[in-house]
Amino acid sequence: MAATSFKEVFDKLNQGVVGYVVILLHVVAGSYLVYSQPRSNLAFLVFISSLLSLYFFRADNRFKILVGMLLALVIIPVIGVRNIFYLEVIFQISVFAALSLGLNIVVGFTGLLNLGYVAFYAVGAYLWAFFGSQQFYVLNYAPGTQPPDLPFLLPGDAFYLFLLVAVIIAAITGILLGLPVMRLKGDYLAIVTLGFGEVIRVLANNLDKPINLTNGPQGITPIQRPTMPEWVVDLFNSLFSGVIGHDVKLADMYNVMFYFFALLVIIAIIFVTKRLDDSKIGRAWTAVREDEIAAVAQGIPIVRMKLLAFAVGASFAGLMGVLLAASRTFISPESFNFMQSIGVLSMVILGGIGSIPGVILGAAVLTILNLQVLQGFSLYLNDLRQSDAVIPVINFAWKDLSTQLDPAKYQKLLFGLILIIMMIFRPEGLIPAKRRKRDVSVDETK
């Protein structure tokens, strides 16, 4: 009841110029806050939530695109360079949004519960980690024993080529891992895919012998980045150094660059997801999810459609894997543990299974919660611990607070709680999936 009446009130408010005013106010206020207080988490939350206003309030599409471009191309880079941590948060949101969109195709559209999704992310990351580093010349050395000054196998600009290669290799991996599980459903499928996910991580951990493919638990570094042309830095500085307050260094410029790459990839992924969803392929996926027997009786080759879902989902993760390896210049098996798969699944469930805007929101909420809110609390508690403050009524000194109670350590508990609460109160997610309404009429003269 509360939900419906809230929606009614919102719809009543959300008319005419209200949308324009709210969006502009929110964007301006948010930008001003982060600009003037580049260290405040709260300011960042106000700023980043202006994307929600942009999505929910009614306004002309051209206006929205204009504001969106202004945000993405000018305001975020400027704010991000002033506090590089914000850029990192936004980069991670994009990465997880891409992963969520990929997993959403498998879990949301096609209804196949995959708990090993991070495997494909690892495939993409290790692909570029191997070819974009010196690892090729380390094949015959045990980890840590290679001589210094080894050459790189490929130039850094091969990164662009490997974005494409990763899509293909990850898709093939998706099909290969998908083939043996095609007969499984529900819990059985979940358990086996969980196993596959772990297999890939264990392989990464142990393939440092007999030949050193992955450098084992130490991980691979340095991984190359694409070269940054001089003129890009100059152009950026000539445009923005005034507002930013100082000239931007090359290292920071890389963060901006990877932010733009992530933005491009996420836009491409949304585009592909939307178009596939609204086609014969997307309808077949959903039909398979809804009722396999009925779907196959309509002539839908279910094995092929499921493999296609696995392949497309995997390719998104592979793409982001390459981006991750290049942006971090370092990867190790620990980045691809089971918690990552669960994290991405939580984002999909929180946001709304099968809903494109939903899973993006889910990715944003959980990433911010993880990187900012929990960390922020931890830092705050730490400060208290350093001080002489006591909790008033019970007379407890903050100093004595165990570090076990550090909120950043409660990430898993938090994910678990979110999943349980969502399942009880809003199983369809924050932004539930909606079917497209079609406006069709039959020409009577025919």
């Binding site: 027997i293 009925a294 196959v296 009786a297």
Partner: protein, 264 residues
């Protein structure tokens, strides 16, 4: 040559012979019913024909082409569409989408066309939508194209399932108890619909039905099954007076007068 020729089909589940040595053929353009008591093997017969089960023995030919060993989706693509005894719609998809899924095998859009939204894609989708809307109206569903299938009333769900099957432009339509749970008026309407499907769309119909008003009214030929075996086949008049059939339905030693009521 008959449209469908099945010979010596047997299908067992463990020790249970769900279908036992059934031979059956169906001419193009007819409306034929399969009847029989509960558990006689009628639904299993459909499932075997559509490839959900593979027969233990026997041959199935459709338009002269052997179907045994083909996957269900390949058999569907040969031109056999069906509905299910316990309605199986895509519950969370809209009515029009359900019907468009039925057109799956006829839509030619390639992944590239889909991603680039080439003109061929847009044209095909528009045509599919219009065709789906026509089919909706044809089976008597009006102004519900954007409703979710699960929100339709029961009778409408049955009609939607038929529309979805018709969307595949089948040569043979298999209906598993299509009139179950319908009131007399709805039953009469649906009988008219079946006649029209056969007469105007030229689709051969094979239906399983318990409601004798439907069976006797519409069938040109009736095949009776009991305990997995085909015990009789013939016109409604012949079946009505067949002692084996009467025994199957009423038990051995039934009085001749009683079955008339039941079958009427």
């Amino acid at each position: 040559m008959a449209l469908l020729e099945m010979a010596n089909i047997t299908k067992t589940f463990g020790g249970l012979k769900a279908i036992s040595d059934v031979t059956f053929s169906l001419e193009k353009g007819r409306i034929v019913s399969i009847i029989g008591p509960n558990g006689a093997g009628k639904t299993t017969f459909f499932n075997t024909l559509t490839g959900i089960y593979r027969p233990d023995t026997g041959t199935i030919k459709f338009n002269g082409k052997s179907l045994v060993g083909l996957r269900t989706d390949q058999i569907a693509a040969c031109g056999i569409a069906r509905t299910f005894q316990n309605i199986r719609l895509f519950a969370d998809m809209t009515v029009i989408e359900n019907i468009m899924v039925g057109m799956h095998v006829h839509l030619k859009q390639s992944p590239l066309q889909t991603l680039l939204r080439l003109p061929g894609f847009n044209r095909e989708e528009k045509e599919a939508e219009v065709k789906a809307l026509r089919l909706m109206q044809y089976v008597g569903l009006n102004n519900v194209e954007n409703e979710l299938a699960k929100n339709l009333p029961y009778g409408a769900q049955r009609r939607l399932e038929i529309a979805r099957a018709l969307a595949a432009d089948p040569q043979l339509l298999l209906l598993d108890e299509p009139a179950a749970g319908m009131n007399p008026q709805e039953t009469e309407d649906i009988i008219k619909l079946f006649r029209d499907i056969r007469d105007n769309m030229g689709i051969t119909i094979l239906l399983i039905e318990h409601d004798m008003r439907v069976v006797m009214n519409i069938s040109e030929d009736i095949c009776v099954m009991d305990y997995g075996e085909k015990i009789a086949q013939g016109s409604p008049a012949e079946i009505r007076n067949n002692t084996k059939v009467i025994e199957a339905y009423l038990g051995r030693g039934a009085v001749a007068g009683q079955h008339e009521e039941k079958l009427q």
